[in-house]
């Protein structure tokens, strides 16, 4: 009886246990891991991934996915960067573009990705396409559009640089001299997404549609509307991630964001978001993202070879999912 309880506890709390074991292990191997600087670094590195994971969580909750997520990050990055370069920069993407208040490129970028999201949602809801293949097609299209735009004269596929300070500010400004605004954005996004999913009718409807589309239909939920709204929200979040990437790196090129959706999906899945829909918590996604950041940051910190890092990351995904299957069994 006692061992059964212990086993249940271990399985139920497997995420937190894995996280703690990893941290403890790293501190034992490298005591200097335990310092404030490491903490803020991990948070900063998690910020963009966090936004992506929150975004991907929406289609996952419907039992769907969005393979175009990463390419949308890239498109958003190139779009926003191309419109927010310094006036005196030698290699301007749009040489004659007047000075725009920073909110304008941001809103244009978000509007573009929102349209992509709406099309994804339309394909899945109305045309009844499988999310996997519909969004894969979309990912190719988005990448193609991005490359076309990026290769435009006079840019000719040169990396976009000379990003204005008012955009880079998102990364360079440190709250209390310590915490980047990127982290603040991520925290605010976590709170908003948590609120929407748990405290609003729309959020409940996402879980209901994801849990049983047929029951949702009988319950008078407009299933198509929910699906399309979900993909628009998701696109806006990954678009935001693209903008944050530009702020963080001070530039952009068309390969930005490649495969970010897979990192985001694995973080969610490790965090207990079910791929079959209807199950998943925001807290799970947060922990999933942090686990992955700690793996890549921490393993590098204690000097593990990059190839081994990949193997360990893969193992963590498989083990976490295996444990999760047992929890739901």
């Amino acid at each position: 009886m006692k061992t059964a309880n212990l086993k249940k506890l271990l399985i139920d709390k497997s995420l937190i246990i894995v996280l703690l074991l990893m941290i403890v292990g790293m501190i034992i191997i490298e005591p200097s891991f335990l310092q404030w600087r490491v903490f803020t670094d991990i948070l900063t590195q998690s910020a963009v991934k966090m936004i992506c994971a929150l975004g991907l969580m929406f289609p996952l909750l419907l039992g769907g996915t969005d393979l175009s997520g990463g390419r949308q990050v890239g498109l958003a990055a190139v779009l926003v960067a191309s419109m927010s370069q310094m006036m005196d920069y030698s290699n301007r993407f749009w040489p004659n573009l007047p000075y725009l208040p920073i909110i304008v490129p941001i809103l244009i970028t978000l509007a573009v990705v929102a349209v992509i999201g709406a099309v994804n949602g339309f394909m899945i809801a109305k045309l009844k396409m499988l999310p996997f293949i519909a969004t894969y097609g979309m990912s190719t299209i988005v990448y193609g559009i991005n490359c076309l735009y990026f290769s435009k004269e006079p840019n000719n596929s040169q990396p976009i640089g000379g990003i204005r300070e008012d955009l880079k500010f998102l990364s360079s400004y440190k709250l209390f001299g310590q915490i980047s605004l990127l982290v603040v954005i991520a925290v605010v996004a976590v709170v908003i997404v948590w609120f929407v999913l748990n405290k609003t009718v729309f959020g409940k409807n996402i879980y209901i549609v994801g849990g049983s589309t047929e029951a949702a239909k009988v319950s008078g939920i407009n299933v198509h509307k929910v699906i399309i709204a979900v993909f628009i929200i998701e696109s806006c979040l990954v678009g935001l991630a693209g903008i944050m990437e530009v702020a963080r790196t001070g530039g952009a090129n068309s390969s930005y964001g490649n495969a970010y959706e897979f990192d985001a999906i694995s973080s969610c899945v490790v965090g207990g978001v079910s791929l079959s829909g209807g199950v998943g918590k925001v807290s799970g996604a947060v922990i999933g993202v942090i686990i992955f950041t700690i793996i890549s940051y921490g393993l590098a910190f204690i000097g593990v070879n990059a190839n081994w890092q990949l193997i360990i990351k893969g193992l963590i995904i498989c083990i976490a999912v295996a444990l999760d299957m047992r929890k739901n069994a």
Partner: protein
């Protein structure tokens, strides 16, 4: 003593909470057609699944030509010479007919599948049975009756001693049925035994040699076809005593017609056609009929889940349109679906979320749709108390509740949505006896409080015990409406099998 081809003795099979078969016996002679009949849920299909190795019987023996056999899986059954035409066809849609017939026993030449040999065997088989179907068409391109033909060919191809046919004519036309009967007669002449399950009594009198009747999972009796009349047969099928299984009828049926359905016709010609009926405030209207009578489809159309090609709907005398479930809910309709697991509960969500699935939108009517858990708490609590929902907590996942409690949560879901017309499709399916009574009581209370209820039910006692009126459907058409005073099991059965017109002709001939 004559030897039986198949002798099944004392077979029992239990499922959690239900004894599906209770010491059933079945004796089939060689070279005969043996009809197996009984109401929905009498255990016919369960018995056949035991014979075919899909279920494993808890006790009892099966003898085949005097030899006791163990049938653990369909593979063994087929090897022993028992083949089955299933009620629900499961073709492999994107494979051709040849592959569909020989799947699992492909002809091989070394390690290579011998397509040519299989194809010629298929061609010969289909020709022999007079089916005009090419072996090369894909199963998905066949009509349902053609698929049925393929299924028959497949069963014959096993060279079986016993062929089980479970409702083989459900999708066949009259001509196709006659063709099937010829095949059956030929198979009988070849010395094979056929177990023929059908609800269509006139067919049975046309084709069968002997009849075994089952009821409530029990063996009732066996007759030679010449020794029994249709009336006697119906009586044997339904003949059971009504116990005090229903709460007293305290509801008062008013004269107010709350709902009028006029000439509802589906676009699908095999579905409901020209159905009209009225529902009164405070009434429980039972809807009877056999599987395939299109009752569920009709109700789904009334609720806006299915399209109709013609028909009108009146609520309190005013015409309304339920194009979608959203419309229906706005017009205060509710639908408790037949398939609780597939279309009712959302298994991985809590009782709380499940009970509020419909009402969330209504109760949280502020701009952003913010859900105030405190504000929702009171109505949810009242409903759960009224319905006596038993759950550890509101956060328990609904999949962990018993069937009866799940059903109560779903009724609660609709009560919270403030409905006036409740359509309950098989409200007590998969619910244990105690909880059944509670659900009946809830239905009575609702009717007494002025709600109007449509109850689709395949359980005869429920239909008779609960309904103020019973409308009976048969093959998509309304075949009769019976008032409380005139409703008997025999009457319902007659309408449900269209016995009152078609079968009488057969007899008078």
């Amino acid at each position: 003593m004559e030897q039986y081809r198949l002798k099944v003795s004392n077979i029992s099979k239990s499922f959690p909470g239900v004894k599906a078969l209770d010491k059933v016996k079945l004796e089939v002679r060689p070279g005969s057609v043996h009809a197996l009949i009984g109401e929905n849920g009498a255990g016919k299909s369960t018995l056949m699944k035991c014979l075919f190795g899909l279920y494993h019987a808890d006790e009892g023996t099966i003898e085949l030509d005097g030899e006791q056999v163990e049938i653990d899986n369909p593979h063994t059954a087929l090897k022993l010479g028992i083949s089955m035409i299933h009620q629900e066809l499961n073709p492999i849609p994107y494979r051709n007919i040849t592959d569909n017939i020989w799947v699992g026993r492909f002809e091989k030449k070394g390690i290579i599948v011998d397509e040519a040999k299989m194809r010629s065997k298929t061609e010969a088989l289909l020709k022999d049975l007079d089916f005009d179907i090419s072996p090369d068409v894909l199963a998905k391109d066949l009509s349902v009756s053609q698929l049925q033909a393929v299924e028959i060919a497949k069963a014959v191809s096993y060279n079986a001693r016993v062929i089980i046919m479970d409702e083989p004519t459900s999708s066949l036309t009259v001509a196709e049925t006659q063709h099937l009967f010829q095949i059956i007669k030929r198979l009988r002449e070849e010395g094979r035994s056929i177990i023929y399950i059908s609800h269509k009594l006139e067919e049975i009198f046309e084709v069968a040699d002997e009849i075994t009747v089952m009821r409530d999972g029990q063996y009732v009796g066996k007759w030679a076809i010449s020794d029994i009349t249709i009336d006697e047969l119906i009586h044997q099928m339904v003949g059971r005593d009504m116990e005090e299984r229903f709460p007293p009828a305290e509801n008062v049926v008013t004269k107010d017609v709350i709902l009028k359905v006029e000439d509802f016709t589906s676009g699908d010609e095999h579905s409901f056609q020209h159905v009209s009926f009225e529902l009164h405030k405070g009434e429980i209207l039972g809807v009877g009929g056999l599987v395939g009578a299109q009752r569920t489809e009709l109700m789904e159309a009334v609720f806006g889940l299915r399209k109709i090609s013609s028909g009108r709907l009146f609520l309190n005398g005013n015409e309304i349109h339920n194009h979608t479930p959203q419309d229906a809910i706005r017009n205060k309709f509710a639908l408790l679906t037949e398939e609780r697991r597939a279309t009712g509960i959302i298994p991985m969500l809590s009782v709380w979320d499940n009970i509020l699935a419909v009402a969330y939108g209504k109760l949280a009517d502020n701009f952003i749709g913010f859900i105030d858990k405190k504000k929702l708490g009171a109505p949810v609590e009242t409903v759960c108390k009224d319905l006596d929902v038993r759950t550890a907590s509101m956060d328990t996942l609904i999949k962990n509740l018993s069937g009866g409690n799940q059903q109560k949560v779903l009724v609660g879901r609709w009560l919270l949505s403030d409905c006036d017309i409740l359509i309950l499709d098989e409200p007590t399916r998969g619910v244990d006896v105690g909880a059944k009574y509670e659900i009946y009581k809830i239905m009575r209370d609702l009717a007494r409080n002025g709600k109007a209820i449509i109850m689709v039910s395949s359980e005869m006692p429920e239909l008779l015990g609960m309904s103020d009126r019973v409308m009976v459907m048969c093959e998509g058409r309304l075949s009769g409406v019976l008032n409380r005073e005139e409703v008997t099991q025999e009457e319902v059965m007659k309408f449900a099998t269209k016995f009152s017109n078609k079968a009488k002709e057969v007899i008078s001939q």
